[in-house]
Symmetry: C2
Subunit: 347 residues, 2 copies
């Protein structure tokens, strides 16, 4: 009789069972043997229903993301690094320094505990590097097939460090659009390892934290009007959303958008336009024209944003709210939001 099928729980389980999510002995063991050692901190050690955190000074930033990426591990990261960076990046886009994380795990029955442990270690490592504390969480287990390994939902709490509000409504005519790095790496890295799709590409995800770059801009008092990380839907979705929310037309110069050669080649094979492909460590900054060059220089001096450059500007036209993209030969086309789904579950 295999240990996993034995109705009497033992400590030596190697696979996740439904009982690991039942709130009983195995749930406790999972917490004590997997989560607590990795995330260890005073809040989790209290083993209470929630965490009580010290006062946050000033306004509070909060963001939530569900992560369902498939496969769980991809070139350049895994669902764990993604779950931490994805939420921290959303905070950074509000001009907030990340402080605390909460994480809820939905695990699939039969998931090797070893796989969970690796993801948990990767979460812990990323959180430590970004100086955020995982203060509370939850774990549920669903029957085999009702999830793919694991889904992770993260909520991040941060302290606003920006002197002015950073949001789409702050965008002004004449502002400059600055792209922090080359695009489309994350989407193509995940695509390169999807079952049935695999191809050798050498592409690695850009999955990483954007707070250091934003922090550098804030410290140098760059007049940032809006920030948007270019995840699902890529640069196209990000720019279109900001244009719509601000009510201004944007003009983007296609030849200014950096794309790695191997990424461009992979996109061509699949007939994808890189501006629609997801990123996990790339953002669009909308800054006052007077500060644009300085903003680019500051970003270029930071790790991960060395390729930062101006890619366009906010026009004077208000009301229609479209993004116009100008090609290398001067042709001008309107960007539209992707309507179908190129590739599900890249985050």
């Amino acid at each position: 009789m295999k240990l996993e099928n034995c109705p009497i729980p033992q400590s030596g389980y190697s696979l996740i069972t439904l009982a690991h999510g039942g709130g009983g002995l195995l749930s406790h063991r999972l917490f004590e043997q997997v989560f607590l050692p990795a995330f260890d901190n005073e809040y989790l050690r209290e083993t209470h229903d929630g965490a009580v955190l010290p006062q946050i000074h000033g306004p509070l930033a909060i963001t939530t993301d569900a992560h369902v990426v498939q496969p769980l591990v991809f070139p350049g990261g895994d669902i764990g690094t993604l779950a931490v960076c994805g939420s921290l990046n959303d905070l950074a886009m509000c001009g907030a320094e990340p402080k605390y994380l909460s994480m809820s795990f939905i695990l699939e029955e039969g998931l090797p505990i070893e796989v969970l442990q690796k993801i948990v270690e990767s979460i812990a490592k990323t959180a430590r590097a970004e100086k955020v504390v995982i203060v509370t969480g939850d774990t549920k287990v669903v029957e085999k097939g009702r999830c793919e390994g694991m889904y992770i939902s993260t909520t991040a709490i941060g302290e606003i460090k920006a002197p002015n509000k950073i949001c789409p409504q702050q965008i002004q005519s004449g502002d400059v659009l600055i792209l922090s790095s080359d695009i489309a790496r994350h989407g193509m890295a995940v695509m390169s390892c999807r079952p049935g799709f695999q191809f050798e590409s050498g592409i690695t995800s850009d999955c990483g934290s954007l707070w250091p770059a934003v922090q550098a801009l804030l410290q140098e008092k760059v007049q940032i009007h809006c920030l948007r990380d270019l995840t699902r839907g890529g640069l196209a979705a990000g720019a279109t959303e900001l244009s719509k929310a601000s009510g201004f037309e944007f003009e983007v110069h296609e030849e200014q958008i950096p794309v790695q050669n191997n990424v461009r080649a992979a996109c061509e094979i699949f007939g994808l336009d890189p501006i629609h492909v997801a990123n996990e460590g790339c953002f669009l900054a909308v800054v006052a024209a007077t500060d644009a060059d300085r903003c680019v220089r500051i970003l270029q001096a930071q790790n991960g944003t060395a390729l930062a450059r101006k890619i366009g500007f906010v026009t004077e036209a208000k009301g229609s709210a479209h993004v116009w993209i100008k090609g290398a030969f001067g042709q001008r086309r309107m960007l539209i939001l992707p309507t179908g789904e190129q590739l599900p579950r890249i985050c």
Copy 2:
């Protein structure tokens, strides 16, 4: 050709497609047509990556829960009421007044949008009644079969109202254990409508918010040392966890624990002990002996906790940390944490 199979997105979708989670046009429509009208507030209307909230005074309480209940709708509630109340109750157990909620949805491809709409309405109604604002969220869609309708993760943020810390480490020898209501209704209500299990029982879930009851205790300055809502694993898991975390032995008197007749009957049919069955609107309060009677009277005057009563006490024995349960005939047995899983996915 059915509308759902058409590659050109139309506005008349009646089922969730993968593209609703892709960050493109359909994601936007879902937000604007389903989530925004129901949850409408200034934070969501900004359509930014995160929300910036006014300063929270004093320490901050935070809690997270994943909800995977099956079926999505059960007698007395649905996954929406559960997702709101579950998180608010965890906050209440810290002595915190709930203020804000974030919600992340993992939806199954093929889910009728009508079903999502009903759950979203139920979330909005519960949140309004409890005066909490849903400030941020996320939606992902996974392939058909990779989820069961929907999973919802909630994070709640609250303001601490308790003058002293409420946590297991505050429990003292001589403290009285007060149970807020009858037990085992939620677990048996969900069981009564599980596919393959259905039975006519008339049992409805106790799913509801515990903050009004806790608020009443705080307003009357009852010396609360610890609170625990008795969800997964029921009273048995709650009491055992508190005993273990505090290091004290508890004694519980079985005949003092109220159980509705139909709940008791259903438990007998399935061979379950009600103390192991989940609740979603019931808590255990550990209070100073001098305040115990007053605590019971205050709870009995509140909606939903009319059956509150003393069920035991914290003994002087420290170190072994067991819960002893005393039966109607004076027999004494040690409570152990449930090890297997009676019924998965009751929350």
